[in-house]
Structures are given as structure tokens and as C-alpha cells.
Symmetry: C2
Subunit: 433 residues, 2 copies
């Protein structure tokens, strides 16, 4: 006897059986509807991309440690995409001649990162990406933030459950340079320190700041300035405030959409202005669900034409945790509405015909494959979540009728074949037990 | 200046812009609906799987030449799945304790094979997989064949465009062994010769047969027997006919669903009985669209419990070619139904509010991001495929009204804000120009 292979999926990936898949589809589908209601068009691209498009822009962590890379038989170095933005940038650059900018695009894609699997983080996950390419207007920020509110609403989330936290790299850079006096060649590293602010205790941050040659006075000033909330807006020079989309946003009627948070940096290198995240406020699940930002020149790897943009992504793993924590996870949808059971093998073809009648009326219907007792079939129907059983039996069939059984109430009626579809859809339209 | 990276996708993969994606979604979506109407539940699984699950069962061509393999940082040998069946088998084996067999499962997944890209064949493609696991009844064949007919019907295809060709490895093996007298250790190779029958001229096949030590008399007998159509059914021994699902099928009322074709073998090693394909009858596109078959023991790699099954797959590349060839490809759906245009930047927030009113009424609506001339916005609206433009202008706004313009007829009316949603949905409900 040969050895059996293990049945567990590769670490950090998941099997989704129909019940689990039904849950995922039910929370993703309303999001697609909302995004499309804003006139975003769905696109798709390859999972395999040239590895260098990530090495150039996605940030060191992704390129050096998290990339699933391979070399094909033709010697090309490829990667499983760890994120969608570089692919989208490539596609935008490729089609600049025919696209009328700005464009609103979204995608629903699978991405791979080699990470240590943990709560909210797997190696393979699905994410929605939403982007506006080709506009530098703050109207893009406002539109995406309204969209995020509608998306959260579609999931059943109320505003006490989450916050849309917004920062601005334009402001942050000015704070670091003009106020804290960080030298130009340390700006990136100190930004990255700010990015870690919430995750580490104050002492650890102070230590790291020292390693970056910040004096303790500079560190305290940094903490104090960033911690001052809206005061930040008055602390930066006027010409900086003028360039900041976030300042403009906070001075508009859209201010109520967001929580200004100067500590927000987001990891990806290509962000150049507004950065934001949807943050779970539940005490046991404090983490970002959505992450996004603005980039002044996203497609620069691929074209000399400057294409500004803004976008965000939201993944299924963190989203499902959020919904679970807040009791918002939808129940799995049953796989079938009705079953048609022949009493005796000689009625198999007739049962199949009745199943066809129901399917054409929009009723998801199964028929038994193996001859089994009626009681067994009824229990299988219950297991499947079906609400109606149609029994094809000889006596009734001779009268061109069948038995229709409501599986919730256990009521059963003889129904003429000509009325079958109407009767079954009526039972299904009645409130579920 | 740094060099720009190429914008073309990796060879054999595709970018799908919103227009192209809309087409793909429109032909896949009705198929999901039909499959679900039969009570199949959708599942999903990892793209990355242990490489050995393909090396064992998928056939030499896939494992040795077509697998995208990689080794992760932990030293695990992985592959991008080239097909879904081994993953499904793994999942079935893993969940045997909780599943009530038989189960009806389907998936819509991306698969990767390193092939020479050509018409109908790419390196990355999406496919639907439909399987019944845990039943050895011919009712499974009949159900899947009815389903295939309904799927083709949902695509708008009529029966002159395609054929469901069905063969049986049980019959083929008997023909080879009992009639042509092929030695047991040559059965696999001669089956593979039969699989190539349609692709090569007779002389080439005869040559190959000679290499397999078939005499020319044996070769002629093989050609004659397989070419005799239904006569095959009478040529095989009675106990073979009894074991054949296809013989049973052809003797039932379901016979009209299929075209019996003893030459059908299908490439994958795990098929053990019924094998079938949906074949495009168009003279310029003669090829298989769907392929599938029955397996006596699919999950044998993972469990000692024997799980018979039957299933098929259909990919987007060949399907799109079929639809294109027969003039059945759907037109792309416009990205937006309506645009709301403020006349002047001071009305931007008002326009955004009206857009929200329309979205909540189910109208896919955009508003301009940059201040532009009305004529520019109207032409952008046309480009997007929108059918209605709502203009928010000062005079009308003071009267709590807006202008609603039908972009097809160019008619324009002043409409009170309270009636906006009704008026716009009425225009959209009227037949498209």
C-alpha cells in the first residue's frame, strides 16, 4: 500500500467548502454592488507578473522577504502578485492612448505573501482594490471616503464599530523636516518609526529613535506634535497646508467622514500624500481592515506620463474577522431550495422532469442519484437546507399530480403538475422558519 | 532617467480591462446560475498546492512539462494548480467525516499551465469545475449532461453549434483487449494513440501503432471497430456492456442528450469510465470546450475510502472563442447609468448629494472629479455609456430642482429634487436606443 498524502492545505492557505464559500460570497457581493453604484468598472489581471515590478516599488519587506518568486522554463523571473497596484499601474500605462482619464477601476483578486500565518494574516488572500487613476483632485478622496462609508453600511456595520483614520505624508514630512528637524536622509526611516507607533511601547520607540540619531528632545517633540491632533494643521507652514489634500478635506463638509490621525503612514513606498485606513474599534480586534493612499506618480515605472491616483484595498481575512467580532457574519445560504424524490426507481425520469420544471422557475432543485428510502432522502434534504420536498408517487402521478411537502411545517398537499412551480415558489416566498 | 519596464503582461496571461471583464462576467454569470439551479454548492481552494499531488495523478504531460513549480522559503515544493480536481479530491478526503455523500460541488478558479500560447490555449485561464462526488450511479451522468445542455442554452447556443460527445474507457479497454488483442502492458499507450486519432492523418497513426508493436491487421481492426459507431456496443462482451454507464445511458431516454463517440479518451489519467467533451461544430473552431469524465477512486491519493465521482471543466479561453465564432459574445455593459454634473465648483457638494440619491435608488452614478466644461463632461458621460445626465445649476437649484437630460434623445427637463430618482429610473427603464 502506498503512503497517503496529507489532506491539509498548504500552510497559510484555505479550503473553502460550500458553506464557508457562501459566507464569503455574501459579504463580498454587496461590496461589489456598492462599488459599481459609484461607476467603478471591474478589471482583472495576471497572477504571474515579472518579479521586478515589485522589487522596484512595493517596499523592501515585500520584495525581499514576502515574494513568492519562480523562474519559468524560459528563464523569466516571475512572482505571484503580492498586491494589485503594480499590475493596475502597468495596465494603465499600457492603455494610456485609449483611456479617458480619470478612470474608476476596481478588482477582486487573490494575492500571495510569504508571511508567518496569524490572526488576520494568511499567505493567500482575496482582496478588493478600488482606485481612481488620473485625477489629483481632493474630490477623489471625498468620493472614496463616501464609498467606504457605503461599503461599511452594506456590511451592516455602524459607526461605533470602525473609524476611517486619515493622515497625510505631506504633513508628516513637514513635521519631521520643519518642526522636528530630521535630516533629509533620515526622513524615510523616521516615517517608518511613526508607522510602528501604535504597535510598540514608548520605550522601544525611544530606543529606535536614538538609533536613528534623534535626540530625546527631538523624540519628545515628535511625539507631542503628532499627538496634538488638529493642532498639527496649524503647526505646519502655510505652503505645506495648501498642498495637503487632507487639510482641504478637513475644511470641507466631508470632514465628518474621517478621523484625522497624524500617525497614519501605511507601509507602501508609493504613497505620497493622503494615507488612510479603516480601523476596527472593537477592543479585541484593534487592527486596520482597509488601507489606502494617494500617489503622485503611480505608473512611473512604466511610462514618463505622470498619472496621479488614489486607491485602497480590503482583504477577506481581516474583513471576516471584523464581521465575526461584531456579530455581522452572514449565515451560509442553503445549497438547494427543493428536492424532487421519486417513490421507486421507475419514476426517476419523471422526477427529473419535475426538477427541470422547478429549475426553470428559478428554484434550485436536486433529485436523488441513488435509490434510497424516502426517510433518508428527506433527512438529506433537511441537511442541504431545502425547504420543499416534491414526492413523485405512482397514484398521484396517474392523476398528473405530485405531493408537495413543506419541510418546515411538515404539511403535505397533492398538487397538479401544472401548478407545481407556482405552489413551490409560494412556499419558498413565505418567511423562513 | 531610469529605463521603463515593459507594459505587456507575461506571455500567455491577459489584462482584462473593464470592457473585456464585463464580457467575461456576462458569459460566466449565467452559467453559475444554471449550475446552482441544480443544487451545486460553490467551493474554493488554494492556488498553491504541494507539487506531488499533480505528479501522482494528473498525467505525465502536466507534471513534467507544464507545472509552474517553486520552493518556498521553508523548503516546501509547491505548484500553481494546473487543474482543480486534485484539490477537490484532497478537500473531499479531508472532510469525509462530516460530508453527506453524494455531494454536488462546483468552483470557478484560475489555473496555470506552462504551454506554448496559441488559439484557445493560454498559460493562465479561468475555469468552471462541476463535480458529483460519492455516487457511482448513471444518474450522475444524466444529470451532468442535462446541466451541460442548460448551460449551453444559457449562453444562447443552439444544438447545431455543438455536440456532447461521449465515450467510455470501459468499452475502449474491452475493444483493445478483447477484440484487437492488445497486450495488457500496451493498453495505456494504445489508448493514448486513440486519443490523438482526430489530430493526425491516418498514416501517422499507423506508424505510431507499428511502434507500439501493433500489426497492420490489428490497426485496421481498431480503426474499423471504433469507426463503427453504435456497432461497438454490440461488439463488446455482455459483462463489459453491463459495467458500462454509457451503454446504460444509451439505452435510456437520456440518449438524445449525447453523441456516442468511441474515439473519445480525454487525457487525464484518473478517468476510469465515462469520458466526454462538448465539441464546437463550427468548421473554423473544431475543438473541445468542456471536458470531463468518471473516476472510480478519485481521492485514493489521500484516503483509503473509495470515492467515485464524475465531473467536468470548462475554461474561459475556449468558451470565449466559441461564443465569438458563433456571434454569441455579449456586448460590454456600460460602467455607469447616470452622471451628475455641477455647473460651477460651488455646487460640487450638491451634485455629490444628488449622486447619492440616485445610487440609493440603484442607479450607477458618477460625478466629475475635476472642474471641466459641461460639453466635456457630457462627452465623457457618452464615452462611459451613461444614458442620463443630471445637471445641477444655480437657478434650478434655488427652486429645489435639477435638469435631467436623456443622453440618447438629447431631451432635457427640469425635475424637482424629490422626483429625481423616479424620473431617472424611468428613463433607464425605457428601451435602450
Amino acid at each position: 500500500m502506498t503512503d497517503l498524502l496529507p489532506t491539509t492545505p498548504y500552510r497559510g492557505t484555505r479550503d473553502l467548502l460550500p458553506q464557508q464559500m457562501s459566507v464569503r460570497q455574501q459579504f463580498f457581493h454587496p461590496l461589489f454592488e456598492v462599488i459599481e453604484s459609484y461607476g467603478f468598472g471591474r478589471y482583472d489581471g495576471p497572477i504571474l507578473e515579472p518579479a521586478e515590478i515589485y522589487e522596484a516599488k512595493s517596499g523592501e519587506e515585500i520584495a525581499n522577504q514576502q515574494l513568492y518568486a519562480l523562474t519559468d522554463r524560459g528563464g523569466r523571473r516571475l512572482a505571484l502578485r503580492p498586491e494589485m497596484t503594480p499590475s493596475a499601474a502597468r495596465m494603465i500605462a499600457r492603455n494610456l492612448g485609449s483611456l479617458q482619464l480619470p478612470v474608476r477601476w476596481y478588482s477582486h483578486v487573490i494575492c500571495h505573501r510569504y508571511e508567518r500565518p496569524q490572526r488576520g494574516r494568511l499567505r493567500e488572500h482575496w482582496q478588493i482594490n478600488v482606485d481612481i487613476f488620473g485625477s489629483d483632485s481632493v474630490n477623489s478622496e471625498i468620493e472614496l471616503f463616501e464609498l467606504i462609508h457605503d461599503m461599511m453600511g452594506a456590511l451592516g456595520a455602524t459607526r461605533d464599530m470602525w473609524a476611517l483614520r486619515v493622515g497625510d505624508r505631506v504633513l508628516l514630512e513637514s513635521i519631521l523636516r520643519d518642526i522636528v528637524k530630521v535630516p533629509g536622509d533620515r526622513l524615510a526611516e523616521v516615517s517608518s518609526l511613526v508607522d510602528r507607533w501604535e504597535k510598540y511601547p514608548r520605550e522601544k520607540l525611544a530606543e529606535d529613535a536614538e538609533k536613528l540619531s534623534l535626540t530625546s528632545a527631538q523624540f519628545d517633540l515628535l511625539a507631542e506634535t503628532l499627538g496634538s491632533g488638529d493642532e498639527v494643521l496649524r503647526a505646519v507652514p502655510a505652503e505645506v497646508a495648501e498642498r495637503s489634500h487632507v487639510v482641504r478635506l478637513l475644511n470641507s463638509e466631508a470632514r465628518e467622514l474621517v478621523t484625522f490621525d497624524p500617525f497614519i503612514v501605511r507601509g507602501l513606498q508609493y504613497y505620497t500624500g493622503t494615507v488612510f485606513e479603516v480601523f476596527d474599534l472593537h477592543p479585541e480586534n484593534r487592527r486596520a481592515l482597509f488601507g489606502g493612499g494617494r500617489y503622485a506618480d503611480l505608473a512611473g515605472l512604466f511610462t514618463r506620463q505622470q498619472v496621479p491616483g488614489i486607491g485602497f484595498a480590503v482583504g477577506d481575512v481581516t474583513l471576516q474577522d471584523f464581521l465575526e467580532t461584531h456579530g455581522l457574519l452572514p449565515a451560509p445560504r442553503p445549497q438547494a431550495d427543493a428536492v424532487v424524490i421519486p417513490l421507486g426507481e421507475s419514476l426517476t425520469a419523471e422526477a427529473r422532469r419535475m426538477a427541470g420544471v422547478l429549475r426553470r422557475a428559478g428554484v434550485r432543485t436536486t433529485t436523488p442519484l441513488e435509490p434510497r428510502k424516502l426517510s433518508k432522502e428527506l433527512s438529506a434534504a433537511d441537511h442541504l437546507g431545502a425547504r420543499v420536498a416534491v414526492v413523485v408517487a405512482e397514484d398521484e402521478w396517474r392523476r398528473e399530480a405530485v405531493l408537495v411537502k413543506n419541510l418546515a411545517t411538515r404539511e403535505q398537499h397533492e398538487v397538479p403538475v401544472a401548478e407545481l412551480a407556482d405552489r413551490v415558489t409560494a412556499v419558498l416566498a413565505s418567511p423562513a422558519p
